[in-house]
Subunit: 367 residues, 4 copies
């Protein structure tokens, strides 16, 4: 095992990410595991983190969507989340966040995504502190005891897992929380990874028709291949009013049964409300960053008897569902095709910029 | 049967309501029924209607909460909603609105409260058109075929039924739509009839504790008698920030499981969001009038994974539930005590003004 | 319009069905419609009816799955269930049963499938009484006011609609009532039309894997084409114990999340209970006939915390969902291929026998 | 701390329970706690255990409903389940069973009551093995790391907690799993502790009327005080047919919305099915012991579209709800009055016999 490892480090918000070397821990805790990173996804949230829109410790090794190979496995860590045996050399992925299991939200409200002591790889750790290797943009990452690990002992490709990334588990959790009905007509706002994942999951739940709104054209092509019945290109329809009108035309004049917001800009929320039929459900899924306020008329919520639903992060069982979905339905939803750009550790800054500029559907870092 | 009847008529918005005389229909349709009004409630919505905040036909006989005595019963109308026999002299109440049963919302979405052809007594009819007697502020009211009629053949008092009024069915429908959990800690914003009804219904559903926010003191007294664990007087706590802080103190710092908005002012909605624990539900129940927009941060909906739920009106089955609740639990929730002010037809304008000025808990018109 | 029509008539239980001629009604009620039958499906229930396992009036024209062409349309019947215009020459299908809309189950419990006054074409009418044409095994059928009619104005084939038949709406209603979770592992007992329909609907709801148990091989082939992950041939596995063991092997030793009984023999119910994981759901969908009792151990229900769920018939909205499903997903689930045998009216008895002997997957009558 | 402790020991099934002395552990694990028993309830299950109807290790110290005082608290055990500080001298109660948190049912199905590695105090431990003190019928009990402990730092009496016992958490879990609707008419079979607890919980959930069937009269008196609308004495109505008829008379001829079986005899299940209205829910809650099979007609499940639901044990969050309910609503439901008989450790055998013979409503052991 090498004595050191390289990682792409965010030293300070809005400054270039650069490669640094850290000492590599030489032995793991009984229930810990050291992993050699194979591929790490660049999530839209990484862009927000780089900009400083969430307060995180620095320096920080970003990267919370990761696949790697076990380098050293604690002797007490015998099995993955499903009970499959784990050993050195196994390819694995994992839930990026750990809930404490003991707080008000974990225990009393069974809502571990809002755990009061939640920690996430690639987000919550200062990499100056041991064990240093706390994020995916690195040669190694150390998984602490309690991490939900999933063994990938089958042909499911690393590209497909990273192409789906945290967008897929986010969509699965969100739609579970929302509660879709079979046959619902669904509008999805946004054609980024979360929008495309929501499209796949909505179809998987039996949506009768999905109308996706977004761009650019390359992403809409993917949306059509995934099974979107209609794609509204926001470049062709830059006016919210026209988009609302088009959605109504496509829904017998009533609006959609379900609208899933995957954009993150406040102004699309009132637009979504207009796209709802009376009694519809609106999943506010894209607002991981605080992008400010927007004017909403509560009378519309009362009169249209709408349900607005938020959802944050995901639990390990959603990762289990995501991997099963990728295995079973991956031919219909080839998430690996989302991976359009690959970068070395040294070019991690570029990876983030490419994501920020919508040049890639999904950028990845390959250490 | 008299040849004419008197009614209090809204000729034009924001002008004094005055008594007029109309010809009384002399024979009813086979499934219609003519009712001599015993008591009509003054709803907060009547104030909004008088002000012109909803576009309704004029002239209009207001009054959509009514109990009366059958004067003439169509020969095809043999039974009330529950199948009890109906005849002249029976005391009855009824659902104020009629759904068509055939439209998209009635049939396909099973959501008759949003029926595209919905009509409501005391709201939707121009009283210059026959059969004229279309609202509760009158000596007579004519119930068209299809009205859901409920016979009151027991000691359940007219005062209790009108004291509960449309507030109770509104609360029952809203809480059904929201879906409360047993043992929930509930905050209710507003101490008017809807707030007090929501208090009773929340307790009836097994809320462990209800914190009610409102005023004036007379209403808070009723709230305490109904079983509110805490009442926050908005005069003593005029600052939203302080109220939020107090709710948090009363909820172990987390916020409430459920917040029910029964105020109708947009600015209380962001306040309600602050009073929610993560994962809470917020019922936006009070916005029957369009009182404008308010700034909301969608990031809070996503991050706190909130559910905001609207609810509009009610169905006949909620009236059935309301009457059963008043019969079974009326001793705990003496809604008759809400009726603090009584007015003759001639003083209907005063009745509305008393309601508007919060001088009464509930005003009624006794023709 | 002809003066008479021919129909295949069940004069008495367990006696040969024969063709008779009846006078054809010459004018319809304002909301009625006379339909020239194009194709009528032979349902497993028709076999039970012929045997006298349900008490129905006689003589009786069977046939409750029908597509036909409007011959005469009442002037008040302007639109189909969705609001599409109706006129002579339109191809239509319809819900075979009518609920009264007024009884305890229709109104108070919103459960019209248990309407106290329910009537069904092909089942509830004595065909000696006018208008005589009350079932699908006939040249004409008369649809009474209130029938939920669905216009087929598109390429959706009559064969596909009849191939799906009442099995599909039965499965849709049953699974709605059961409440499946996305990703559930499902066992289906039975490979007849209801089993195959349940397979399609379970997959449509996002079942991760469906194991179907039944026979003969021709039906299992269809099941595989529909997407069954595993088919257990009851001829190869005649022992319940072995089938239970096989299901456990296929479910990591735990049993299935959902079991759907589509057989109708009591002894498969305890077998289904054994195939359930703890906390599973078991839909008892196949017991339309009274086939007697079976021994069940209530301790297993308590200890395994099972949910056993029954479901009866369907509502018009399930027919709407079924037709939408056949339009959207018919390429994946080619129900038209179930129609393996066609018979003239004169050979209706043969059609029933072929169904009874499992020689056909689906027999149809083409008048 | 004494060197030994006394306990009432079940050496072998169906042999007299006798007091033995064991060495008392002198220091606890960091997250363990040694408790001096104040009171232990005698549960109906203890009778089944004594008879050998469940296979448990022997010798065994029974007693799984216990309140005690902390004698020694592990230094790592700082807080109770709610986060309240714990120290020597605190009065506490706890969930009697521990789930592993790692198995298929704990993690993947979030159903810890069916944990594959579940252990329960008073049931799962051989008391010959250290730490010996594994059940409530003893002077001391040792709570292993992971036990869900609830501090009783308020006036809530030990009698009330033990009077409610595991019956209350069982009823809370069962009704949660069943899903009651507000205003349901409920039938409860059985007037033992589970039946009385189900009565309280059903009323707490907003049942409009509860009909309780059981005996003897002393228990029915309690049921009436708790709020049962009707009590059917099984001595006065020994025929199932008459009881069914009476329930129908009390439910407008239709049967109940919900039936809760709290008896444990298989023959009451088909009786319950007859008491269900179409579309009703039947909670099979009383079959903790295997009391054999009963004949059921699956056609009734299909045709009446019933839901039969099992439920097993409870989770710590149900204990939290139970204690809150006892605090909030204990004046309405004075469970302390169920404690009719008290026994010393030496008379534990008598305590069980009194329970078995229905002489007590609730017997308790006071060491």
């Amino acid at each position: 095992m090498p004595a050191t490892f390289k990682a792409a480090v965010l030293e300070e918000f809005r400054t270039p990410i650069a490669v640094r070397e850290f000492p590599l821990l030489q032995s793991v805790e009984p229930a810990g595991v050291l992993v050699r990173v194979q591929m790490a996804g660049v999530c839209g949230t990484d862009v927000h983190l780089w900009k400083g829109q969430l307060s995180i410790p620095r320096p920080n090794i970003l990267g919370h969507e990761t696949v790697g190979i076990i380098e050293q496995c604690g002797e007490a860590l015998q099995h993955d989340w499903h009970g499959l045996p784990l050993r050195k050399g196994d390819r694995i992925t994992w839930s990026s966040s750990l809930a404490c299991g003991h707080c008000f939200y974990c225990k009393e409200k069974r809502q571990p995504t809002r755990c009061l002591n939640r920690k996430a790889y690639g987000i919550s750790y200062n990499c100056n502190e041991p064990p240093h290797c706390s994020g995916g943009y690195a040669e190694f990452i150390y998984l602490r005891p309690g991490t939900a690990i999933f063994k990938l002992d089958d042909p499911l490709s690393t590209e497909r897992v990273i192409g789906a990334g945290c967008a897929l588990v986010t969509a699965i959790h969100g739609i579970e929380r929302l509660g879709m009905n079979w046959g619902d007509v669904v509008v999805i706002q946004g054609a980024g990874p979360v929008g495309l994942a929501a499209l796949a999951v909505a179809l998987g739940h039996g949506a009768s028709r999905v109308i996706l709104i977004g761009g650019p054209e390359a992403r809409l092509k993917t949306a059509r291949r995934f099974g979107a019945a209609e794609c509204l290109d926001i470049e062709a329809l830059p006016s919210a009013e026209k988009r609302i009108q088009r959605v109504r035309e496509l829904t017998r004049g009533y609006g959609a049964d379900v609208v899933i917001e995957c954009v993150g800009s406040p102004e699309v929320v009132p637009e979504a409300i207009e796209m709802c039929r009376d009694g519809a459900k609106l999943l506010v899924l894209g607002h991981y960053g605080d992008a400010g306020e927007v004017s909403i008329n509560p009378h519309h919520i009362t009169r249209k008897q709408l349900q607005l639903q938020g959802s944050w992060g995901s639990e390990p069982r959603h990762m289990a569902q995501a991997l099963e979905f990728l295995r079973d339905r991956g031919d219909h939803f080839p998430f690996e095709e989302l991976v359009t750009h690959r970068f070395s550790l040294e070019r991690a800054m570029e990876a983030i910029e490419t994501t920020q500029r919508w040049q890639s559907t999904k950028s990845v870092v390959v250490p």
